[in-house]
């Protein structure tokens, strides 16, 4: 940012003022020399216009502006004397998109100037009013940085996601605008893989149903029915990334033969590769979704795949709801065309199709894949660490863009 001034021009209502070919949105990024010249022009124009606000992120230009009596509302993102690193960061506006973690929220509040998107009844106005200040967005699997949000935040420099999935971030837009993006890989791999296995066991061995059976007192009247053995079942994995590999490693300990479907075959594994998802589904007993959500993988588990998996097959989804054609899945389960399902994610969380509630071969969880105290803290620390690294001009910890 050395040698460059960002000038933001707003009217008293906080609306960005357009004017001049390079100032469509009232934001100008210029060299210091050019900025000084532009200032002189603005001052002249301001004489015949209502008061405008000029903010600037370079100290000496800010001081220039502040001396001029025509400018009523003056704000700056820097202050004199030169601030310490922490104080500088305290002035950095961070927009948190939804509640996700108390520790993260508290730390963001302490270290930065935190804006809570979900507390705002009028979100558009809120963004416009604070667009000035917001230089970072913290999102998660529920809400991230869509094109709309990015466009509304001209000062946005970094999006730090409290998730490993990036499907809620317009990555192309971020790349175009030079906005950095970070996520939380590795720290949650084990927990998500653990949950995938936990769901497999819960569905095949009907653990949740048994717990209900005992609690209802039904055991006094008879034994529970026979369930299905998990050990030795064929496990098919969609996406053999970090999480897919961790699932494979765990399932192997149960003597489960592993196969997978991926964009390309992975070297250095002994697992059987299928270049066709229908073939994978036809040749496994348990199919688990473990790939990233992209336009290509949306609804990758469709009716054909579900049919191939069959009335004895079980689907486990710890990826993203939109990986699966949810209405097709629901009808397959209700009609008995699919043997069972363990689902941690849904197309429109927190809404879950109610037709699934009464099925004892279906286990439903409220998106808790990474939901342990240990892992959420590690994820929060990564988000904080990435933000601090960025604003201290240090290398990002887990950059994606």
């Amino acid at each position: 940012m050395v040698g460059v001034a960002k000038l933001v021009v707003m009217d008293p209502k906080g609306r960005l003022v357009s004017g001049g070919s390079s100032a469509k949105t009232g934001i100008m990024q210029k060299s210091i020399k050019e900025s000084t010249k532009m200032l002189a022009t603005l001052v002249r124009r301001a004489k015949s216009q209502p008061p405008i606000t000029l903010t600037c992120n370079l100290l000496h230009i800010s001081q220039l502006i502040s001396t001029h009596p025509l400018h009523h509302n003056f704000s700056t993102t820097t202050r004199a004397p030169p601030p310490s690193a922490a104080a500088k960061m305290e002035a950095v506006g961070v927009l948190m998109m939804c509640p996700m973690n108390n520790y993260l929220e508290q730390e963001l509040d302490k270290r930065f100037k935190l804006f809570r998107y979900w507390t705002q009844p009028k979100q558009r106005e809120f963004l416009a009013q604070h667009a000035e200040a917001i230089r970072a967005v913290v999102g998660n699997a529920t809400a991230g940085a869509s094109a709309e949000v990015i466009d509304a935040l001209p000062k946005l420099e970094i999006v730090s996601s409290f998730s490993v999935g990036l499907d809620k971030i317009d990555l192309i837009k971020c790349k175009e605008k030079g906005i950095r993006v970070t996520n939380t890989p590795d720290v949650l791999t084990e927990d998500v893989a653990d949950l995938a296995i936990g769901l497999m066991l819960a569905v095949l061995r009907r653990i949740c149903e048994c717990d209900k059976y005992v609690r209802s007192g039904a055991w006094k009247f008879g034994d529970f029915k026979l369930t299905t053995k998990f050990s030795g079942k064929r496990v098919g994995i969609i996406g053999l990334g970090r999480i897919g590999l961790a699932i494979a490693k765990r399932a192997e300990a149960f003597d489960c033969p592993i196969s997978y479907y991926s964009r390309s075959e992975k070297p250095n594994t002994n697992y059987k590769y299928y270049g066709n998802l229908i073939e994978l589904a036809s040749n496994c007993d348990i199919l688990v979704v473990a790939c990233a959500l992209t336009p290509e993988t949306t609804h990758i588990v469709n009716r054909e795949v579900i049919d191939a998996l069959g009335p004895k097959g079980v689907l486990i989804n710890i990826g993203r709801g939109p990986h699966v054609d949810e209405p097709e899945l629901v009808s397959a389960l209700v009609e008995g065309r699919l043997g069972g399902a363990g689902l941690d994610v849904f197309e429109k969380e927190p809404e879950v199709p109610e037709q699934l509630f009464g099925l004892d071969n279906v286990v439903l969880l409220p998106h808790v894949g990474s939901g342990t105290i240990e892992t959420r803290k590690a994820m929060a620390d990564l988000v904080l660490g990435n933000l601090e690294a960025h604003f201290a001009n240090k290398p990002l910890l887990t950059p994606v863009v």
Binding site: G198, L201, A202
Partner: protein, 329 residues
């Protein structure tokens, strides 16, 4: 002519007395009865002793469930008995010294259930730590949209797992949990030189250094109530206990008290001291997962069990070595 052959066939089928009856008899009773003539005391109005006195004086083999108490008194009414085949791996319900004294061989289910029981142990543990049953209830009761995010669970990876009794089932559990990144140690009567897991000769020490305790040992006089309040307190406020062995290895009253008082963090229980009775105080706890002693209740295991039982009975009746003789130890 065909009829004559049929009658001869039935007469030639060896006779067995079925005691319990074992659950596998419910699923495979018909097939079993086509291979062996089975005496079924529960179908008779007579009390057991009288039934045996009237019908089973010449019966040489018994098929017994894992919960039927095969005591000296019962054996008194089976004077010709030479073999007991129990459908369980555990033999705590059989008076082994009496059987030995009378020259009665005992065959059990050996290790055919080990994988299924180990799977359930891991399943119960994951359920307790990650709140799977509780989360499933939450969603199916419609609470997610109204009440928001569900409370966080606990990570399994990196935890210290203490296995009580490193037999066939204990080893299968250890192998599985290692893949989840757990560190395994164990308590056993004797150290096992062939394993690399850390051995603790004292149970309380094992509990003190473990985050998770998995009970996998046989029920004997020595192991009765072996997991007492001291062991539970050593396990600690964040500790989790999983019991897939026998209810009576754990002092159930103390376990319930510790759970209620928050002295331990959670429990996954497949077995209880007085099945099918389960202390109702446990029903109010969200950090407890309960299952109705169904560690072995899979189609696959029951099929395997049926084959093993028939194999043992057929071996016996043709004077061949038994497939799963319980050795005298």
């Amino acid at each position: 002519m065909a009829e004559g052959l049929q009658i001869t066939k039935i007469q030639q089928s060896p006779e067995i007395i079925v005691l319990g009856p074992p659950s596998v008899f419910r699923t495979h009773g018909k097939e079993l009865s086509s291979r062996f003539r089975s005496l079924r005391p529960w179908e008779s109005p007579l009390p057991l002793a009288q039934f045996l006195a009237a019908q089973a004086q010449n019966t040489q083999a018994a098929l017994c469930s894992g919960t039927f108490s095969l005591s000296a008194a019962v054996l008194d009414n089976l004077p010709s008995l030479r073999l007991v085949v129990t459908t369980s791996a555990g033999v705590n319900h059989i008076d082994l010294s009496e059987c030995r004294r009378r020259g009665i061989a005992v065959a059990n289910a050996a290790t055919i259930f080990s994988a299924d029981v180990a799977d359930l142990a891991v399943g119960l543990l994951l359920d307790v730590l990650r709140k799977i049953s509780a989360g499933n209830r939450y969603v199916k009761n419609g609470f997610w949209p109204k009440q928001g995010a569900y409370p966080l669970g606990f990570k399994l990876g990196g935890k210290q797992v203490g296995i009580v009794g490193l037999g066939s089932i204990g080893l299968e559990i250890a192998k599985r949990l290692e893949a989840f990144g757990c560190a395994i140690s164990y308590y056993s009567r004797n150290k096992k030189p062939s394993v690399s897991y850390v051995f603790y000769p004292h149970l309380r020490k094992l509990a003190a250094t473990s985050d998770i305790l998995v009970v996998c040992c046989a029920l004997t006089e020595q192991t009765h109530h072996m997991i007492d309040r001291g062991v539970l307190l050593a396990l600690g406020k964040e500790g989790v206990i999983v019991n897939i062995a026998r209810g009576a290895v754990v002092d159930e009253k103390e376990l319930v008290a510790c759970l209620q008082q928050g002295e331990i963090g959670g429990a996954g229980l497949d077995v209880f001291e007085n099945e099918p009775h389960v202390p109702k105080e446990l029903f109010e706890l969200e950090n407890v997962v309960l299952s109705p002693h169904f560690g072995v209740f899979t189609e696959e295991s029951f099929g395997d069990l049926y084959e093993l039982m028939c194999g043992n009975l057929e071996a016996f009746f043709s004077n061949k070595p038994l497939l799963s003789l319980v050795s005298e130890e």
